[in-house]
């Protein structure tokens, strides 16, 4: 395979700066889950923290522990736990843990001590119906956490939820539900300093949802969370560029193969898709495992760089274009670039390096 994913750290730093300025005084918790949306968790973490993010959202304990062990000292937030999740390791590595249910609280308490209390963020379900305590379960969860806090076994760092990004009306109801959960916790004497609700969508558009921190994910990678404005329209820059080369494989007249296929992150199921070959837009004919057939002009430079997607300001297709062509969202396009595709990290303050 000869595809290459170039990660533009200057673009990431720019985006984190834009987002930080927009939501201040709320802080930015940068989502680096799913290997930083396919960009590379460790590399993205260090640039994000140097550019204005104050904490990192990592989804699950093993990823948080890996970051901590690599020397990352900031607040690390993990919230999706299975029955085999290693809460002992999370507590000893000072990982902040999202808690949706009593069984998680009990496991964390067992892993904690007065010397090393577990750090918890209680989650209320405000309508998404994934994780989080239902409103009728909320007082019990808060009370149980408070009792552990009184015994010195946990510290309640936060109360949080997740919006559905449905209609403005639906989201307003969810913000109300979150405020109601905060009020109930307050009545029970639980007033954590980190209230976080919004991700990219509400963080950008809904000041009322920002509270103490916004968990920005997709916007930081330069991709819009909305369907009525692009990342470029928001003043953001694409962080990932997926490139390959023109193939020497024999092709039908007027067609050329390029050296990336769906195993290299070329999205499947797209209609009317295009790539850029040496700056020229070329229609995609069909996508195979390791190569893609494209419709090319009469003369084509065999050495031309092929850009599957990248920064739209340079005239190439964007991940958002591919999302539109294949009926999905940009998040799936960038996270769909498999781990085995080489990442080249072009860093901000040093000459481009390969890692």
């Amino acid at each position: 395979m000869s595809a290459l994913a170039i990660i533009d750290h200057a673009a990431l730093a720019h985006n984190v700066g834009v987002l930080s300025a927009r939501v201040a005084p709320a802080e930015v918790m940068l989502a680096v889950k799913a290997d930083a949306y396919g960009h590379g968790m460790h590399e993205i973490a260090s640039t994000a923290l140097a550019s204005g993010a104050s904490s990192l959202a990592v989804l699950e304990i093993p990823a948080a522990v890996a970051l901590r062990e690599s020397g990352v000292d900031c607040q690390l937030f993990a919230w999706l736990h299975g029955v085999g999740s290693d809460f002992e390791s999370a507590v000893s590595h000072r990982i902040d843990l999202g808690v949706s249910a009593l069984w998680q609280l009990e496991r964390i308490a067992r892993a904690s001590s007065r010397e090393t209390p577990g750090r918890v963020h209680l989650k209320i379900d405000t309508g998404l119906h994934r994780n989080g305590a239902l409103p009728e379960q909320w007082p019990e969860l808060v009370t149980a956490a408070r009792s552990l806090a009184e015994r010195g076994l946990v510290t309640i760092e936060g109360i949080w939820s997740h919006l559905a990004d449905a209609s403005p009306d639906d989201d307003a109801h969810a913000v109300d539900a979150y405020a109601a959960a905060l009020a109930i916790a307050d009545e029970l004497g639980v007033r954590p300093t980190m209230r976080h609700l919004a991700a990219s969508s509400a963080g950008w558009r809904e000041p009322r949802a920002r509270y103490d921190a916004v968990r920005f994910g997709i916007a930081a990678y330069g991709i819009s969370p909305f369907d009525d404005v692009t990342g470029q329209g928001m003043g953001l820059r694409a962080v990932m560029t997926l490139q390959c080369a023109v193939s020497t494989d024999e092709a039908p007249a007027g067609r050329r193969w390029i050296t990336a296929g769906y195993a290299d992150g070329v999205p499947l199921g797209a209609r009317d898709a295009e790539v850029s070959i040496g700056g020229e837009r070329c229609a995609v004919d069909s996508v195979e495992l390791a190569r893609t057939l494209t419709v090319v002009p009469d003369s084509i430079d065999d050495e031309a760089i092929v850009t599957v997607f990248g920064e739209p300001g340079t005239g190439v297709p964007s991940a958002e274009d591919w999302a539109r062509w294949s009926g999905t969202i940009g998040d799936e396009i960038v996270t769909g670039v498999p781990r085995r595709v080489e990442r080249r990290h072009d860093r901000v303050l040093s000459a481009p390096t390969t890692s």
């Binding site: 299975g82 085999g84 999740s85 994934r130 990004d165 769906y262 199921g269 495992l289």
Partner: protein, 215 residues
């Protein structure tokens, strides 16, 4: 199952059937004799090239297609990986139930509230999403089995999670959630997503552990 210890995180497993692979190798060598070759490109279409090669070599196969090679003239992946029509997949895809909720009829679920329950329902949250290669196109279309019940994916598949509507069935945190494990369920996933079998397995992500089972 393999002897590898369970890693301390969510359970996401591509379970590979040693018996089915053995039968596939027999079919391959019967059909092609000394020309039998095993296509290892794209990490053996997502199956894990190292173990596929080791098992193929132990059966005397010496010819392999690798990433640097041109696309082979004859596609033998169908026989080998169970991509052909009516063939069982070599991989069964299994996630973990990480939360269970009982909700009323009319409850909206996941991003955009594109799905609502039609009856009082049990919802199982499963720790697999499109970052794992579960196509977002399967939202509200494909099904997942928990216990004896196969339920519809309720609403949008997210990056790391999906919700299954189990109706009046029950589920417990820690249960297996089986996306596919036989001819019928794999074919249904291909239909629901418009993906070819090879496309589904090749895009399975790095967080999913490949585990060989003797069965």
């Amino acid at each position: 199952m393999s002897a590898a210890p369970e890693p301390p995180g969510l359970r996401r497993v591509a379970r590979l059937s040693a018996r089915a692979f053995d039968e596939a190798l027999t079919a391959l060598t019967t059909e092609f004799g000394d020309d039998a070759e095993v296509d290892l490109r794209a990490d053996a279409y997502g199956h894990g090239a190292v173990e596929i090669e080791r098992r193929a070599r132990s059966r005397g196969i010496e010819r392999f297609v690798r990433d640097a090679d041109a696309s082979p003239a004859v596609d033998r992946s169908s026989t080998l990986y169970g991509f052909g029509v009516g063939r069982p997949p070599l991989i069964s895809l299994i996630g973990e139930v990480v939360a269970v909720k009982r909700v009323a009829a009319g409850t909206a679920i996941s991003y955009g509230y594109t799905y609502r329950t039609t009856t009082a329902s049990t919802l199982a949250l499963v720790g697999l999403g499109y970052a794992d290669g579960v196509p977002r196109l399967a939202s509200s279309t494909a099904t997942v089995r928990v216990g004896e019940r196969r339920g519809l994916i309720a609403g949008r598949i997210a990056m790391d999670q999906l919700v299954v509507d189990l109706g009046d069935a029950t589920a417990t945190v820690g249960d297996d959630a089986v996306l596919w494990d036989d001819v019928e369920s794999f074919a249904a996933w291909c239909t629901a997503t418009g993906r070819a079998p090879a496309e589904l397995t090749t895009r399975l992500g790095a967080r999913i552990r490949r585990v060989w089972s003797d069965a």
